[in-house]
Subunit: 234 residues, 2 copies
């Protein structure tokens, strides 16, 4: 029996009405990310935001015009976190690897928020920073113009897709309430094993042990392919 907002032991916790400048876009986005981090993908509701901020649910509409707009802002915030403290490394390959790992780990740390991020175009300030950082490394490698943009697309598409799917699987597992120890175990036990000889033969090995290992290998393959496709001058 939880009394709503009644904290008698803590006197001035409860206020009749919030002051005028209390809520800001930034505060709401931070609260939204907190909510997504502790709940699942659908945990981000206006009611929950209101509780988190001690405000009326509808107060959010003074700063965002819809739930979708909040999600987009959270996506840009996730990019900000991912980029925090980034500086180009000496080698362009190291720079791109660093950026890739940053995306992976940020998405892994915030899987629910990542599900709103990986396919979105936020057009926000931090997304622009990310695009610029990648293009900078691609230019340093030796590409220009159209070619540079193509390489940028290959790279960012791969990183966002792989990191995004990993986050989606993490979020789904969390929503299903699985304990984090065994959630990526796939138990393939076909009804007629003789019809699926390969699945049956590998039953015990069909478990993804470490998603990052696969990701890392794919990033290396991509970087190697980029290096091999580099234009003449080196």
């Amino acid at each position: 029996m939880e009394e709503l907002a009644e904290a008698p032991t803590r006197p001035h916790r409860k206020q009749k009405r919030l002051g005028r400048g209390t809520l800001t876009k930034e505060l709401i986005v931070e609260a939204a990310l907190r909510i997504l981090d502790e709940g699942n993908v659908n945990a981000l509701t206006f009611a929950r935001l209101g509780k988190e901020l001690g405000a009326s649910p509808t107060a959010m509409y003074r700063h965002f015009s819809s739930r979708d707009e909040i999600e987009t802002a959270v996506a840009d915030e996730l990019i900000r976190i991912s980029l925090d403290g980034y500086e180009p490394l000496e080698s362009w390959m190291d720079s791109l690897r660093d950026l890739a790992y940053r995306a992976w780990h940020t998405f892994s740390d915030h899987p629910a928020a990542a599900m709103h991020t990986f396919y979105r175009v936020t057009l926000g300030p931090h997304e622009v920073r990310a695009v610029d950082a990648i293009l900078e490394a691609v230019h340093r490698a030796g590409w220009q113009g159209r070619e540079a943009v193509f390489q940028y697309q290959m790279y960012s598409n791969l990183v966002l897709a792989l990191s995004g799917r990993n986050a989606a699987m993490l979020a789904a597992a969390a929503a299903a309430g699985a304990d984090s120890g065994n959630f990526w175990v796939q138990e393939y036990r076909p009804a007629r094993p003789q019809d699926f000889p390969y699945v049956s033969a590998h039953h015990d090995e069909l478990r993804i042990k470490d998603g990052f290992e696969v990701f890392s290998g794919q990033v290396e393959a991509m970087l190697a392919a980029m290096k091999a496709a580099l234009p003449a001058a080196s």
Copy 2:
């Protein structure tokens, strides 16, 4: 009562109550896929399913215990469609390429359903078929045991992630009501262009023209990397 034969001009006349064996898992899944295809990702509701099948919304609960279970069944159906008519080709690389393109095109044709598919483990009959088909090709290439499973993971992870993100972008664009001609245009116009020189310089080229071209290139790179990593005996 022979009254059932009335009103032949109007095919499905409104009936008070549906007959007993009218609804099946298969019919519901097909209806669900139809609904997802013409609406967006959130279009799949019990009310909409009821309307589509001329039944009560709650009738679905006699065949599925939750919305999530229906989505999982739709995911497996999507895999079935993707695999329809597949036969292993002579070369293992051709087989894997074929399977990859099938996934891409199926996801592109059903973007909303794909968003429920790309990160899920359905454990359904068709998913098992898909896993078996991939493992078959990997074995034919020359891998066995643990190594074979690792190659399977690299491959399927890449294909599902890339196809899934593409579908997610298509679905988001459709939900936003964009016409399919220009939805992947990213208009980066930073507030202070001098702070983002590379984005500004490539403003006109920062548009993804053909997602499949990028995908195809990445699949080829992966197949080449696999071939290069092949164990000794050939």
